[in-house]
Every structure is written in structure tokens, then in C-alpha cells.
């Protein structure tokens, strides 16, 4: 193939604009900019929270204040200091109805979902997927709730859980990610607006895939989601989280916290598609995505699996982790991170082996284009108590341009002789021979690159739930497409 064509195509890929940039105009009630104890009280009051919740938030806020000189700077990313006083910490759609059916939902919102190609109606038709749509921090529509209730499954907004299931929230909130965990986790604990809560009772296999769509909407509102998933003994749940965000000019801060607790023999599968606005060609205006995600395999034979497709955000700083506390517990991390333009991603996982005979698998695929930087940073820690622990890690990077960077920073800490830890990583570009082979069979260069990139990510896409896999493949193609349809 001609080298020029390939370069031109990759250039277009790297330059292509974000396809999901639009703003929904529905009235929002927004807190004034700035952060103080009053802001925390305001949020708590708005959400009509009990006293213990406010206390917890205030403790987190006071702890966060002590961290000001410990602003995290270690990641392989560059960005200006964030002015935490220049952000509004709460925004809720002002019409806050509790709909019985979708017909009552603000039509503009439904339209937004439809333009994203994930309409609720369609989702409902497909069945098997319950959607808890979080638009700007408050649950607007919750479907399939009754069906889940029959099984004893609780799936609601975090706010509702605080009201209706305080005993569960108090027991588990902060048990995996304490409010002292890190800078952004503290901030989130103080000002989190809403999020999802999910409880699967003993022995229940959740009959459908649970799904939420996060959207950052009103201008200048940081979104601070908090998700708590509890899988009781022997239960199973597959949880999907996907997001796309409208075009914005100023940077938007997103600092979510996700906590997963898997009890004895429970299994939680958590899948994410992240496609937030990555900023324009110069990297201006994209979402800052600083997320703390962690799960604990609390009982024996528990399993937690993270799968993610990261294509958006100007900065991604995210390390979904698993604490393997129970014996024979299993942790998995499958990730595809695609960066282009001026995007920066520093993402990976932590597998902390505490229990005996624990197993973890890490497969990470990074694709960089344009002027982007894509790093894998992961920790595998085998503690003294973790006899016969087993880990396999594989991190591959694909470079689609000569201005981008791909980096691997694995940490392996082994404190037990019976541990068996393997790590391997490769970095390469799309082979000219591979493209030549495709060309020779009549496949154009653009199609060929799509094919090769899709093949590179296949292992990851294969473990995504079916609907998600379809969307993921489509998303990757669109990301690669540039303006060449």
C-alpha cells in the first residue's frame, strides 16, 4: 500500500471530531460555584439525607482539606491545576418527577438517548436490560424495577438507597474505598451527587443485565457519581455502565467512586464503555476523568471481573482494582484504551492477593494515535498470606502515528514463594505486511486498519456482554473512521 495513503488516513483518524457533541436543554437546578462545608450541607439538604450521611460527607470534606498539598501528580499525564472553587458541585433536572412509564419522561431527554443510539424504548423492547438513567446526578427513569424486586434485588439510585436501605449503605459504603483513600475519592465522598446502588440477595442470579447511562450535562457541573454493588453469597450480577457526553468548552471534572463487594461464591461482572468528550484537536475542553473503582472478593470462591473500553475523555486516570481476600477468589481486568488527538490515558489495575489460591488475569490493550499518550500502570501484589497465588498479565500497545506515545509501568510485588506471576508486554505498529496482505485481497487501507485494530482488541470485546460488544465494535469503528465515512 502506499505509505502516503496510510498516513493520510491515520491523520484523519487522529483529527476526527467527536460525534456525540450536543447539549440537551432542560432546566437544571444548579448549586452556585465553589466548595465549602456549606456546599456539602447544601447537597445533603437538597437530597433530604439523614444526619449520618451528612456527617460522613463532612468527615470526608475535612479530610480532603488536609490533602491539598498531596494533589496527585505521579501519573504520566499533564494538565493544569484544577480550581476546585470554580466548579458547581450539584446539578439536578428541576422537574424531578417519578415516572411510571417512559411516556411521561421529558421528550427532549428521550431524544438525547435516541441520538446516542441507546434509546430507552429500544432498550425496553430488547428486554433483559434494565436501565437506570442518570442524567446530571439524579435518577430520572428507572425501568424493570418491579421485575427485579420480585427476586429481592435492589437496584435504585444511591439517593433512594440512603433513604430506603440505610442499614446496607451504612454497612458497605466506604468499606472498599474509604473516604481517606485518595484525593479524588475524598472529594467524591464529600460532594457525591448521586449514583447507583445494587444489592443481590443470597443465591440469586440476576435475571437481566443491569445498566446505567451516565451523562454529564449542564455546563460547568462536575459529576461525582457513587456506585455501590453488593453481591451476597452465591449470587451473580452483570453490571453495565456506558457513557457519552455533549461537547463542552471548559474542562469538566468527573471523579466517580465505584465499590463492589462480592461475598462467598458471588460473581460480579462490571463492564464499562467510556466515551466522554475528549476535547478538540488542541486538547481543549475535554473531560477530566479521575475515577476510583475497586472491588473486594470478601468470601471464598468470589469473583470480580472488570471490562472496560475507554475511548473518550481528555484525561483518563483510572485503575479498577480487585482485593482478593477470600481463598480461591478470582480477579479479572480486561481493557481497551484508545487515545487520539491530545488525549492522555493512564489506566490499569491493581490485583491485591491476600487469600490462598487466588487467581488474577490482566489483559490490557492500548491504541494510541495523533499526539496522544497512553499508559498502562498496574500493580500485582502477592502478600505473605497468599499461598499459591497465580497472576497472568499481558499488556499490548499499538501505535498509529509517530507523534504519540505508549507506555507500560507494571509493578510486581511478590512476598510468597509459591506465587506464580507472569507479565508480558509488547509495543508495535500496524504491520505493513498485515496491511499489504489485506490490500492484496482487495481490502482498502482504511478497512484493513479497522480490521487489524478490531482483531487486536478481539480478546477484550469478546468478554463484553453481547449488546455492549456490538456498541463497542461500532464505537471503535467510528473512532477510527475520521471523516472518510
Amino acid at each position: 500500500m502506499s505509505y502516503v495513503d496510510e498516513t493520510a488516513f491515520l491523520q484523519e483518524v487522529a483529527d476526527s471530531d467527536y460525534k456525540y457533541g450536543f447539549v440537551t436543554n432542560f432546566e437544571a437546578e444548579t448549586a452556585p460555584k465553589g466548595l465549602s462545608e456549606d456546599t456539602v450541607r447544601f447537597i445533603s439538604a437538597k437530597k433530604e439525607e439523614p444526619e449520618w450521611m451528612l456527617e460522613w460527607r463532612l468527615k470526608a470534606y475535612r479530610h480532603w482539606l488536609t490533602l491539598q498539598d498531596k494533589y496527585p501528580r505521579w501519573a504520566h499525564i499533564e494538565y493544569p491545576d484544577i480550581d476546585f472553587q470554580d466548579i458547581s458541585y450539584y446539578s439536578a433536572p428541576s422537574k424531578k418527577p417519578k415516572y411510571d412509564s417512559l411516556d411521561e419522561v421529558d421528550p427532549e431527554l428521550l431524544d438525547t438517548f435516541e441520538r446516542l443510539g441507546i434509546s430507552l424504548v429500544e432498550q425496553k423492547m430488547l428486554a433483559g436490560v434494565a436501565v437506570d438513567a442518570v442524567v446530571d446526578s439524579v435518577s430520572v427513569a428507572t425501568t424493570f424495577k418491579e421485575e427485579l424486586a420480585k427476586e429481592g434485588i435492589i437496584f435504585c439510585s444511591f439517593g433512594e438507597a440512603v433513604q430506603n436501605h440505610p442499614e446496607l449503605v451504612q454497612k458497605y459504603m466506604g468499606s472498599v474505598v474509604p473516604y481517606t483513600d485518595n484525593f479524588y475519592a475524598s472529594l467524591n465522598s464529600a460532594v457525591f451527587s448521586d449514583g447507583s446502588f445494587c444489592y443481590i440477595p443470597k443465591g440469586v442470579r440476576c435475571p437481566m443485565e443491569l445498566s446505567t447511562y451516565f451523562r454529564i450535562n449542564a455546563a460547568g457541573t462536575g459529576q461525582f457519581e457513587r456506585t455501590l454493588i453488593i453481591a451476597d453469597e452465591g449470587s451473580y450480577v452483570s453490571y453495565l455502565e456506558g457513557c457519552t457526553a455533549p461537547r463542552r468548552d471548559e474542562n469538566q471534572l468527573h471523579a466517580a467512586v465505584v465499590e463492589i463487594i462480592a461475598h462467598k461464591a458471588a460473581e460480579v461482572k462490571y463492564s464499562t464503555i467510556q466515551n466522554w468528550y475528549p476535547g478538540d484537536r488542541e486538547g481543549k475542553g475535554g473531560v477530566f476523568n479521575f475515577v476510583t473503582k475497586r472491588g473486594i472478593c470478601d468470601g471464598d470462591h468470589a469473583k470480580i471481573s472488570w471490562t472496560q473500553l475507554e475511548t473518550g475523555s481528555s484525561i483518563t486516570w483510572k485503575y479498577p482494582s480487585v482485593i482478593l481476600k477470600g481463598d480461591y477468589s478470582v480477579g479479572e481486568f480486561y481493557s481497551v484504551a484508545f487515545t487520539k488527538g491530545r488525549q492522555q490515558a493512564d489506566t490499569g489495575t491493581k490485583m491485591i492477593h491476600l487469600g490462598k489460591n487466588t487467581t488474577s488475569t490482566i489483559i490490557s490493550k492500548g491504541i494510541s494515535a495523533g499526539h496522544s499518550n497512553n499508559s498502562y500502570r498496574g500493580l500485582v501484589k502477592i502478600n505473605k498470606s497468599a499461598a499459591n497465588a497465580r497472576n497472568f498479565s499481558q499488556c499490548d500497545s499499538l501505535l498509529l502515528g509517530d507523534k504519540c506515545g505508549a507506555h507500560t509501568f507494571p509493578y510486581l510485588e511478590i512476598k510468597h514463594p509459591t506465587a506464580h506471576v507472569e507479565h508480558e508486554a509488547t509495543t508495535s505498529k500496524v504491520g505493513e505486511d498485515q496491511i499489504f496482505y489485506c490490500n492484496q485481497r482487495g481490502i482498502g487501507e482504511e478497512q484493513a486498519i479497522k480490521l487489524i485494530v478490531n482483531g487486536f482488541c478481539k480478546e477484550i470485546l469478546a468478554v463484553l456482554p453481547m449488546e455492549f460488544a456490538v456498541e463497542a465494535r461500532k464505537l471503535l469503528d467510528i473512532e477510527l473512521e475520521g471523516s472518510v465515512g
Binding site: L399, D402, L412, E413, H416, P417, A419, E422
Partner: protein, 444 residues
Amino acid sequence: MTTAPTVRTSTPEERFVAAFELHEGHTLNGSNARIQGLRKDAIESFKQLGLPGRKDEAWKYTNIEKALRHEYRVLAGAPLDEVALENLAPFLVPGLEAHRVVLVNGRFVAALSHIGSLPEGVIVTGFAKASEAHADLVNTHFTRYADFTTDVFAALNTAFAQDGLFVYVPKNVIVETPIQVINLTTGDEDVLLNPRSLVVVEQSGSLKLVEGTHTLTEAKIFTNAVSEFFVGPNARVDHYLVEDEGANASRIHNLKAHQEADSYFSTSTITLSGDLVRNDLHFLPDAENCETHLFGLFLGKGRMHIDNHTLVDHAKPNCYSNELFKGVLDDASTGVFNGKVFVRPDAQQTNAYQSNKTIVLTEQAQMFSKPELEIYADDVKCSHGATTGQLEREAIFYLRSRGLTEERARTLLLLAFARDVLEQIKIDALREHLDARIAARFAN
């Protein structure tokens, strides 16, 4: 007037700076004005940089500040102890024919050295002598590769450096016989040594260098060594270092190498004993078609702490680097591996491989491995791998089923594991000597 009791609260930094002020201009004096001038810059740089703490990523797993808290006296001036020729016997490699250089406490000792006849133009001598007699050569290269403005231990060494090894191989000269350097430490005092080496191999020259470090004393010795290598165009250097010191000897081995076009550098670092051992190997293949090989074998025992830190900084296109570090950790020893392959934006067609394999034998031993890739060019092939585990039960079972005892089976497997690195040693006498020693150690 009462004298207040002297309370020793000074930090290691303060002690080193005080020692510098004491010796500077007197005992540290040499006749090379440039080196004198650089000392002051270096100590200033040392003050500014300060010793790294646990928060410094490069020292995350090695608490060097704690190790230096022990009150080492900075040794400056002439050597104090005499070493007899027969003391050398245990450290000679049987059958190795070599130009022998002996350094005692970092000072070149002509009486013990046996350099013999060298090809024309080749210089092998002490660094102090060379900085007088070959000032031009030394000044051209000294501190150019070990940057004391960014590396705190290079700064400390540059401030105090007096002597060490100097080797010069002129254009087109091949030194067939290896140069063997025996580094000995002696004396009853707990001291900090700052030996400094400079090795310059000009265009198309070739050199084999075998270094060994050994102790003749039970005193606590901390060696902060810096070796600078310049490898000219199409030149070749084969470097071997055997670290085999007493249980009270700690060492930072700082090797900085600069490679010109079409050059070849291979270094093998074999760590057998010591207390805290930190190897910092930095390579800058600064022109096209360079080949760089890094091999390492570290055998931990007792409470040893072995930290191997490597950086291959690929600055130019079409270079190749290969790295293999293997370790066996016994007792309560700790191993650290941090390898970094850095590919700068212009360094297209780089091929870089990196591998770290460790066997952990006991529950007290631990291993921290961090193989890194940082890549800014797209047309490259880079990969790394790291494994940590114990001996395969199946492999032991297989050997036992053939009638080997458990002991024999384990020894055989460990030796096979170590031989991947030992086989890279191209000097037969050295390889056989190490192989026998390591086999005997595994058998125990």
C-alpha cells in the same frame, strides 16, 4: 563553662557536606584543575538534590537514606592499609590470563597490579594518575556521561572522587587479553568510598573488562562507585562485573555508558553476596545501529537487598537492545528489578527486549519487579516480560522419577536457570569459574 554532650543528630547529607568542607583543598587535592573545579559544583548539586526517600519512584523499594544513616566516615586521601600480594589469591580467576589491575579502597595500587605488556597506545592505569598524565583525555570525557546535576550519587562521587580505574583504547586497536580489575576493601573503620572509573574506547577499538569486588574486612563499607564508558563508532566493549563482597559491604554501582554509531556494548552483572547492592546501569545509544546487551544474575541470601535498575535510552533510530535479568532469592533476601526502555520520538526501527525472571525460594524472601516501556516512536518493536515463581513441581517430579534426589533435582534446576545468564559470558575461564561457584552454592 560546661560542654554540652555531643548529640549526633546530623543527617547523612550534613555529614557528607561537612566531610567535603574538611577535605576540600587538602587531602582531596589532585593536580587536575578541572576536576578540582567540578568538585564544588558537584557538592552544591548534591546539597540541592538531597538523598532520595521512599517517595522517589527510582528508590521506592530501596531505603537508601536509612542505609546511609550509619555513620560512615568519608575516606579521602592516601590508602591506609597495606594489602599483601597473597591476599589476592582467593579472588583470582583460575586460568584467566589478564592484564591485572588492583584497587584497594578505590585507590590504584601499582605494587599489586600486574598490567604486563599492552598493545601500542593502550593505557591502563589509576584514575588519579591518568588525570595528571593524560589530562586532555580525562577532561574530554569526565562527568560527560554521569551527570551530577541530576543524579545525586554521581554528584556525591564527583565531589569526592580521587582514584579508580582508567582505560584508554585508541582507534583500531583490539585488546585481545581481558583486563581484570580486582576491587578490594580493607581497614577496620566503617567508611564510605567513592571510586571513579573512566573507560574510553575509540573508533573500532575493542575491550574485554572483568571486574570483581571483594572485601578483606568485617567493617561496614559503603562503596558509591561511578563508572563512565565511552564507546566510539564501531567499537566494542564486553564488560563483566562480579559483586562478591562481605555481608557488611553495601554498594551502589553506577554505570553510565555512551555509545556511538555501530558500537556494541555488553555488560553482565553477577551479584553473589553483599548487604545492600544497587546497580544503576544507564545506556545511551546516541547514534544509529548500536547494539546493547544487559545481562544480570542475582543470588540473594541472608538479608541481602539487591536492586537492579536499568535504563536504555534509545535516542536514535535502528538500534537494538536486549536485557535479561534472572534472580534466585533465598533466606530473607529482597530483590528489586526496575528496567526501563525509553524510545525517543526519532528512534524509529528500535528493537528492544527486556526480561526479568525470578525464583523465590522462601516465605521470607520477596521480589519487586517493575519492567517499564516508555515509547514515543511508532515504528518500533519493543517487548518485555517478567515472571516470578518457584521451581516447577512437575520438573522436580520428572527428575525424581529418574532417580535424582529432591536435593539434586532442585540444584540442577536452579543451575539451569542461572546458566541462561552465565552462558552469555564469553570468557571461558570466567564462565567456568562462576559456574562452579554457583553450582556449589546451590548444592548447599
